[in-house]
């Protein structure tokens, strides 16, 4: 539980400026504008766009606020904040998960564009699950970026988890192949495969990723495999394209939103979760080994729009 407190401090700390900006501006809007009219909505739209939610999403969000306000039969602007919170929580709440882990070996394939924070995230997940009592192994399948293998090795040491690697320039699919064999023979519970950063519009690199995924499915047919996309919270609308393209090549089971300790709002996840129905699994809130936490829609929205008079 101690950890959780630390997490909230970090999340709130990081989001503080954001929160201040968003809620202050919304509060100011509400106090200066008591009625829910077009002018109010127009200003609300401006405020919300600063969170990196796409224009479309903001429009949909405002439509929904209008609808719910009508249902409530109110025209008072002070309901707006509560409604926004409600709607966002609805949208961000995970779609129900289908299956529990049946198989012994669980494999995570961690993908994303360059500089999103894949290697760091792999290290953090390894430490987290190791502490949860699992046998964890890392696979250094980013064989492209200079010193990526060394970087993962250091994370392996920190988390006290073995790292399977073949060095820079090796075939990433071969590294994954090796890692699966090693994981099977060493009775590993969780194998985490780090991959090279690739921009989603690079056809050849996406095909390479597809191949890695194929090798995983073939060589570890009885394992449960999850593909996780690492997204930088600082990213703008391109994150939506990233999610869509990666999802098309290697169907995504979840998203990890990194760098949420910064001042960015991470609002771009709203259209992703809402439209693509891919759940956010973890959020990264720092460079430390335990700066990774499970995503919770309610708390995420809390951090964005802290509860005001309504509940306090």
């Amino acid at each position: 539980m101690e950890k959780k407190n630390g997490f909230f401090n970090k999340l709130f700390g990081g989001l503080e400026k954001t929160r201040q900006q968003l809620t202050d501006r919304i509060s100011a809007l509400v106090s200066g504008h008591s009625e829910l009219d077009e002018e109010f909505y127009e200003e609300l739209e401006e405020i919300l766009i600063l969170s990196d939610m796409s224009f479309e999403t903001v429009e949909a969000l405002i439509e929904e606020v209008k609808k719910r306000a009508r249902k409530m039969g109110t025209k008072e602007s002070r309901v707006a904040e509560t409604l926004l919170r409600e709607i966002l929580i609805d949208w961000l709440t995970d779609p129900p998960k289908e299956s529990e882990l049946k198989s012994k070996l669980h494999i995570l394939l961690v993908v994303g564009v360059n500089g999103a924070g894949k290697t760091t995230t792999c290290g953090k997940i390894a430490a987290l699950e190791k502490n949860n009592g699992l046998q964890v192994m890392l696979a250094a399948a980013d064989t492209f970026r200079a010193a990526a293998v060394e970087q993962l090795m250091i994370w392996g040491e920190r988390a006290e988890v073995p790292v399977i690697s073949q060095g820079q320039g090796a075939d990433p699919a071969a590294v994954v192949f090796d890692a699966i064999q090693a994981a099977k023979s060493r009775d590993v519970d969780l194998l985490i495969c780090d991959t090279a950063g690739r921009l989603h519009n690079k056809k050849n690199l996406m095909l390479e990723l597809e191949k890695i995924h194929r090798v995983l499915k073939r060589e570890a047919a009885d394992a449960s495999i999850e593909v996780l996309l690492v997204l930088d919270a600082t990213t703008g609308q391109n994150a939506v394209h990233q999610a869509k393209t990666f999802h098309a090549i290697t169907p995504l089971d979840g998203i990890i939103l990194t760098k949420l300790d910064g001042s960015s709002k991470g609002g771009v996840i709203v259209p992703i979760v809402k439209d693509l129905q891919i759940p956010i699994q973890f959020i990264g809130v720092g460079e430390g080994i335990d700066d990774l936490q499970e995503f919770n829609a309610e708390k995420f929205v809390d951090a964005l729009f802290p509860q005001t008079v309504d509940k306090a």
């Binding site: 990081g14 400026k17 401006e46 766009i49 600063l50 969170s51 990196d52 796409s54 224009f55 479309e56 564009v113 360059n114 500089g115 999103a116 924070g117 492209f144 970026r145 200079a146 010193a147 990526a148 060394e150 970087q151 090795m153 250091i154 994370w155 820079q168 921009l199 989603h200 519009n201 690079k202 056809k203 050849n204 930088d232 600082t234 990213t235 703008g236 609308q237 391109n238 994150a239 939506v240 394209h241 869509k244 760098k259 300790d261 910064g262 001042s263 960015s264 709002k265 771009v268 460079e287």
Partner: protein, 449 residues
């Protein structure tokens, strides 16, 4: 969503299409068109406040335009938008200031922006300009960051200065200056750790480095995919460090790069270079006009042309042209062409730069780069005699060529057929050219400047 604004100019014209009356554009007409501009800019991640200011400016200029016909009015609005945007993006690209012995250049930015890769690219560019740079590993926090700099330093053949075990970037920066002087290195490039602009300790550390070694260039490295927050990031770095410029990375992605505009508006500092890939050569000078078109979703034709011209040797082009005219184009020339094409980079990347080419259209028309490899292999498996005179290639020869190139006889047949058709086409073109001679020479396939 991706293609919604593929062509902003169409959308602006569409919004003005309903205009039937002649006269002047009213505020109401302009507002409708500007809504499209606003959406396009927001979708491109330009900061909301910047968009608002910008729209205000355009509005002033657009109201009162004479409507001759609706299309014309639309074109005029597009022109204003383009001009204002290019103006906002800044004038001519600015060179790096490399004065002092040594000149110090510092890179800073958020985590994962691409500082280390950019350090190597700049080192390469600077050495090509006749300098002797030194890369300095001041990122003492990220695991293996120093190792990464050493590897990329090796790739560009530039020495890397680091102090093993040191946790003090200020000290490393300081000592690197002495090292550079002693070793005849005239430019020092400091690679610093990624940091959040709200991290007080690390921002102070950067200020300490600046105070200590006084860099001539302080460049903020920004990911082109950055969203609304780009303004706050850039503003804080500017306030704390007084940047001399900005470097935009990952522009080889499909982000529209509106952050460039936000940063420019927030700091007033020029964008000096852009990163266009993971290879050490993938660095280009920033072109404000091209960025403006890109942000508006109008493609980057100029970069495409330049890329083609850069790869294509003009002399070779002339020789080829002469051959085509005399209809002596043989398989050796065909091979030459292929190799030139390969130099230009990925065919997919090139196609991506063509305006109006969106992914939907690309489907089905995808270029399989493997085919090019096969084609090359097939020609390379032919004798010189066969390449010059392909008509001698009979069944037996085809079998041999297929075996030699690891392909099938069908593939060899296909290539020969393609060659035949190409020759036929060239014949037609040359004939056409003769007929239209008065209009000036038509050059093939990539004209020189």
């Amino acid at each position: 969503m991706a293609n919604l604004f593929e062509n902003l100019s169409d959308r602006i014209q569409g919004s003005l299409k309903k205009l039937t009356q002649r006269g002047k554009l009213t505020e109401k007409d302009v507002n409708a068109a500007l809504r499209e501009v606003k959406l396009a800019l927001l979708e491109a991640d330009v900061n909301y406040k910047v968009v608002k200011d910008f729209i205000g400016k355009i509005k002033e200029r657009a109201i009162g335009i004479e409507i001759l016909d609706s299309l014309n009015a639309g074109q005029q609005v597009v022109k204003i938008v383009n001009e204002e945007l290019a103006e906002l993006m800044g004038g001519k690209s600015e060179a790096l200031k490399l004065e002092g012995m040594p000149a110090v250049l510092m890179l800073c930015g958020l985590q994962g922006a691409g500082k280390t890769t950019m350090a190597a690219k700049l080192a390469k560019k600077i050495s090509e300009q006749g300098h002797a740079p030194l890369l300095v590993a001041c990122d003492v926090y990220r695991p293996a960051a120093i190792q990464q700099l050493k590897v990329v330093g090796g790739q560009v053949d530039v020495p890397v200065f680091s102090i093993d075990g040191s946790q003090d970037p200020v000290k490393i920066a300081n000592e690197s200056i002495d090292f550079a002087r002693k070793n005849g290195r005239d430019v020092v490039i400091l690679d610093t750790a990624g940091r959040l602009q709200i991290d007080e300790t690390l921002m102070t550390e950067l200020q300490d480095i600046v105070a200590s070694v006084v860099p001539k260039e302080i460049l903020l490295v920004v990911d082109a995919m950055t969203g609304q927050e780009a303004v706050n990031v850039a503003k804080t770095f500017e306030d704390r460090l007084h940047l001399t410029g900005v470097v935009l990375t990952k522009l080889d992605g499909d982000a529209r790069g509106g952050a460039a505009l936000s940063i420019r508006a927030a700091t007033g500092k020029p964008i000096k270079y852009v990163g266009l890939g993971e290879k050490v050569d993938d660095l280009e000078v920033f072109h404000p006009d091209r960025m403006a078109s890109r942000i508006l979703g109008m493609g980057d034709v100029l970069s495409l042309i330049e890329k083609a011209q850069g790869a294509y040797d003009e002399k070779q082009a002339q020789a080829l042209e002469a051959k085509i005219r005399k209809q002596q184009f043989d398989l050796n020339d065909f091979l030459d062409q292929l190799q030139q094409l390969k130099k230009m980079g990925s065919v997919q990347d090139l196609i991506g730069m063509i305006p109006g080419m969106n992914k939907k259209q690309l489907q089905g028309a995808e270029v399989n780069e493997k085919d090019l490899v096969y084609t090359e292999a097939i020609i390379l498996s032919m004798t010189q005699k066969e390449r010059i005179n392909p008509s001698i290639i009979d069944g037996k020869r085809r079998k041999r060529i297929a075996r030699g190139s690891g392909t099938t006889v069908q593939q060899v047949n296909q290539l020969l057929k393609q060659y035949k058709e190409m020759k036929k086409m060239m014949k037609q073109m040359t004939n056409m050219q003769k007929q239209f001679k008065r209009r000036g020479k038509m050059k093939l396939p990539f004209p020189g400047r």
